[in-house]
Symmetry: D4
Subunit: 248 residues, 8 copies
């Protein structure tokens, strides 16, 4: 359930077409629904500017499916992240889309796209996190462009993307290994950058910690950094900033 529906409810209340008692009951009912092992939070979208989402990893398939069905009944539109193909197949919700690289499932996405979010990756292995960010921001209503595999070892490939960098309102950069790409992009533009370290690499990549720490130490001071592989958070944040700059 999104902002608009609640506004309508409140307008109806003001207009007299809904009684105070009914409005109160509906609103009180909204916040969450208790399904014993999880409280489905139908208001989170309103309060926090993130979509309704189920983080599948760490939950049993059964739990994911039960929560998903509860969400589907109420709001119709939500995401499942870090999901398996098996969950997608058991879901049986019409119109649900599964993105196999990142394991994200989008249900009921129908927002008009606006603005411009550019998603870059340093390498091919960073695509899962990038795709999660792209799908999330698109789900929330952002127009997306993606340019993959433009790491700093071949700067000319990055230079070829300068037009897309100029057009973007906000740039998501996913990179593992030495995590240098956000710094280099940040040296080329003053656009807000959301950096996503990925667990790509081996040895001293330390599962993404090296990329994370490198990004936090960027000489381009204003880069914002997300948790390792947290494409979902990057998508939410990028969309938020994208919409701050207008709705076109």
């Amino acid at each position: 359930m999104d902002n608009k529906k609640i506004k309508n409810l409140l307008t109806s209340l003001k207009d007299g077409t809904v009684s105070v008692e009914n409005a109160l009951r509906k609103l009180k009912h909204l916040p969450y629904e208790d399904i014993s092992f999880a409280k489905v939070d139908h208001h989170r979208h309103l309060r926090q500017g993130v979509p309704e989402v189920i983080f599948a990893s760490g939950k049993t398939d059964e739990q994911v499916l039960t929560i998903a069905r509860a969400m589907h009944k109420k709001s119709g539109a939500f995401l499942i992240t870090k999901a398996s193909k098996k969950i997608y197949r058991s879901l049986k919700i019409k119109g649900a889309v599964f993105y196999p690289d990142s394991g994200i499932i989008a249900v009921g996405e129908e927002k008009k796209k606006a603005g411009n979010v550019l998603v870059l990756t340093a390498g091919t292995s960073d695509i899962p996190a990038a795709e999660e960010a792209a799908v999330t921001a698109s789900f929330l209503g952002s127009r997306i462009e993606t340019v993959y595999d433009v790491g700093v070892a071949g700067l000319h490939r990055l230079m070829d993307s300068s037009d897309q960098i100029k057009k973007a309102r906000v740039i998501v950069v996913a990179a593992g290994m030495e995590g240098a790409l956000p710094s280099v992009v940040g040296g080329m533009t003053d656009k807000p950058i959301v950096a996503v370290p990925t667990s790509t690499g081996y040895g001293t990549s330390l599962g993404g910690l090296t990329a994370l720490f490198a990004m936090l130490n960027s000489c381009v001071a204003r880069i914002a950094v997300m948790n390792i592989d947290n494409g979902f958070g990057a998508g939410c944040r990028a969309h938020k900033i994208n919409t701050l700059a207008g709705n076109e």
Copy 2:
């Protein structure tokens, strides 16, 4: 030298009041100035949306002062971060202001303030990072409000700030120890949040790493995190987002 001055130069060129040769020379001269141990980068403001700044820690006082004087001649307005009172006293630049809690020096700040950046701290010991963020964003042109010492152990104090949270366009949250404040603020609002972990605490606070990791793991997925004690970066980022939402 800021955006406006360059725009004027280019307009003058277009108007014919400046010859192509002169414009070229001036522009070419701008990027940086080589003072042997440092390249003063007068274009960074344009390219990256950050103020001209000298990070004093790790440089000798003599180096800081030499770079500062070079900057002062060209652009008139810049910051020095993590500076000592001794540097401030040796600087002898009229109008320079020293903020003792954070050790930031602002030279030539005169921007009109617009928008609304709210800076919160969990405790008194987080004020240095918060002040660095506030002075930086203000220097760049953001209107600032600060509310200090509203950590999660006394939620009612935070609740009393809900009006200020509602008015803000972007919120900077500085917190050390368990770093929980950004999550709680993020649960109350959908405003963009810039989280600054601080090195406040002892034992397993690990010099700020615990607060950093906690913020990166926030259940409020869209929080952007800066390096430990990086108030400067938070100020740059908050200002950028603040201006995306308009210039009032």
Copy 3:
């Protein structure tokens, strides 16, 4: 074998219905039984206030079953933690109960429940640790209530549990990721809190270390922290504190 049986033995000795020699032999026999690869410690309950327990992880199934049978003969009531369904099926002890979320097996539980232990979790993925704590404390004789999925990103869900918080004598809080829930609960009540960090999360959650360190750094100074995923220990501790406040 529990406190009561030993008291009875000693009373019988005093009453003359048991000879000194027999009492001595029985008591001497009690402490432990040597089954070559493990010493079954029938006195630990007395000495330490924890139930007889087999920590299954790191033992072969065969070892677990042999120890379990030895315990079953002597005392009739014990727990097996971190056990698999396979162990449960091979166990073939009447009345044994298997809890699949946490993998705990309770044998011979029949204590009258008293007092009030409240078990909270931040998310659905924290339920295994919470269930282990709840089953353990209940086995020892505590009355239990559980409220799951009330993390800090949705404070109103936590607020709805304030009645249960008021009624509780001691509160167990299981949380992974940023581990902020114990601080927030601790800001709402002066009840003793036992915090269990869980290995829920990814990236910088570091397998639960971030939640652990955050809890140890809580601005609510008096929170007691257990090892990562140590629901068993939390249940023992919560029961102990629960009974200190009376036996109703």
Copy 4:
């Protein structure tokens, strides 16, 4: 201001000797007092069961003294932890007591002592944390006994303390280095144990992390662990548990 004063206020309201308006004003005034860089929280004692306290480390001396004076006016009784002798000398509050080993200052302590909290240390170097715990619990109203330097390398010294262990309602154990003492004490008694790892040691003691981790891994599962050197928290917790068992 403690529980009793507020109860009196509410009784006066009920009795009619205080008007609703006055009661409201007084209560509303209570929660905290804004002194710009810190919000003095006069209700925390009520809400959280900890004393009013100023954590001096990380604050300037001036800040500590300003907060201390504000606290002194309102409630008369509070603690300052990790304070220097210099702060104590500048404080000039009659009856303030300074404990040099731990750097704790107690102001206005006058509670009647009840129950029994035993504070043990493994070595002489663990006394600072132990003293902080002892002074805090005593300040809150617990009767205290201390036995220092009874580490596991000389078990007979610990055995000589078995009478004190038997009399105690709760035991605080401070230990650095290998942090083994809580396990050994926990093997001797079923009393609740609050373990405080200390930063005593060198090399792989890792500033107390080794003792912390050892305590969290104790084979005596029910031990509750505090942050490194957090004697204050241990004192609060020990007092809480002590009072659960009655007021004698």
Copy 5:
């Protein structure tokens, strides 16, 4: 090939029954044999006081078997550590013994046993490392006693082993979790102690690092510590010390 055979060769040389040329050739041939991917070092026993050994983990089964056959031809007696049952089955060497708990294979053991090495474990899960130590020291010629599951949570079980501790010339102590057992044993006796931290435990046991660091920080200063799960090294060392004290 062991010390005795070489002594015989040299005696034969001195006696004139072997020519200098032949002795030289044999000795030169001895040191190692190049089988391309490994140099089988037949002299290591002489030089270092360790048995000929193949560390199977990290080698392919094929490599282990090839090296084993080369060793078998020359010396007849050697160990394979961290081996699988599958390797044992493929080995097909008469008299080879496989110990399933630790995965150690002993080939050609026939030394007379002397002295007294006591091997203790804190728990059942520490048996693999302990067994590796026991088999190694026995293979080298030490008489072995083992007492398992005598951790510090039940000190009386350890006390019951005091006779065995008194008889031992050197004590190997294997313990995971908090690693406290070597300290407690070290407080009871002045015998040399070889401590083996094990990877038993979970959460902050950090795969054995906590036990390792605790042992290195033991208040009983003279404890010698091996790598995590390095039962083989502990067995070598214990045997060496055992033989220093005589050959009975």
Copy 6:
């Protein structure tokens, strides 16, 4: 496509046999080819002195094969590292060679070998990294010698390789566990040494970090260190240095 082909193109341009437009188009086309999820960088060899390479780990088999086919069409010669036998079988490129120890695939290698690169390992388990280095340097045109299993526990084995050390122009040393071999080799020769720490070992080998740190701390100051298990990088570097010293 290598240096020579480009030189030919440019000469053709100068000779007039190729028009400027055609040359431009070809050159512009060269740098990389966009196959959506990866930009195949045909110029990297020129710019960086490394062969065209696909790092298979972290990519799907499908992605590896698509990139491989694109590379095969353009340049004919490239490497795939950390590949599985399954990829090799699906590749179906004539002349491709698969090295099973290291999982490296070499396609189109036909360079004349020159100079002398010596590759040493401390143990048998270090061979995968060593083989990756050897195959890479050979692919680039270096003559290779390998001596495996000459760790510091048997110095005489290393001493027997002194002739090979004397002949080498550059020495690659792969070692895990305590990582001491580069220091010892470095004490014997002034040849450039490229050290590759490997993930061989267990417990405190920390997946190769201990060997890495030991090598970085070598008392032989001039040793260059690669990432853990990075045989490919070591091979590139060794070849580069090898060719600096001439083309024989």
Copy 7:
């Protein structure tokens, strides 16, 4: 008070020159003496085979001096480690010797020296730990030889010490940085080796952790490792092993 005095007491008891009551009182009195902040343990020497010792670091000077005087009265012979020159000057005990490199103070040393302990260091900076080991073992009665600065970068220097290595019964090796010396020495001899990692080095030496981990991973499996800079423990251990091999 050492072994001999107690033996005399017991003999006197047997001879009838001391009554059972007196012997009991004396023995009971012996174990430790309570000086409030420390229990001076006069029996530890007997029980643990270590000298009476005060670890000065982490204690106030006043505490060290008080404990030292109590020890001086009873036993006459003890050590103070990690002490400052200031403590030595305030001590004013005749015959006390101060070793400035390691900060060890020896009081009342007069044992006859026997056996042979060789103490090696890799560099000049490792001398403090080595000296602490040498003074401790000498104090306990071991004959000592020291050879300093024989690190692996100059193997010929180590080779020149081969005579001393042959004569030694046990070898203490102190090394920082990459910690390779014990492996190399262990490859040359089968003597028991006690390795002491030191905090010498910078960057990735990590305060001695790298040397420690390298030693624990030594390919010479039987090396025993002490805590970082723990020369005292190494001295105790080396002496113990030295005396196992006889009293000459």
Copy 8:
């Protein structure tokens, strides 16, 4: 004493102007000189290709001066690294030069310079490590160019150095914080790169570990990495590679 002097000695021997006995004595005398706490190694230059050097940090001033004087007598030319101005002043050796940024002292440098080593830094704070590398390589005979403060946040500054990059035979890159500069330089050129991570930065720079790990993870695989702040090693290595490519 350098290569040339030894060659002369050997030629004299061949020429008959020096007797075999005298040559032997001189050569035998050369390797090192025992000054009790240090063995001055006059042959290291020959064997390892590094200059004679004293690493001052961790030694007392007295030790540094004694070793320096011994070196001065024999060879005349050596370096002291990480030295203080105080040591320099006490040294009183004619012609010694002190470089205050890095604390390096060069004695007797007089080599002819050849080749071309380029030393780059990312920022002003990286100059100490860079200067140490530059002085060392110059001392050994390399021609040096330095370009400081060309970090990735201002790529155009780096682009301006492309001529110098083209001329260089080997490039030393010193960078702290995110350590991205070597990757970017490596993407521009195929010259050998020696990367020196520096301890510049704060928070998650972790004293240089982040820069180190980032460099080891560089997508430009062939970069060689030194220990944190190890400018000396980088200088040795760069000189070695520089001379491989000829003596001009």
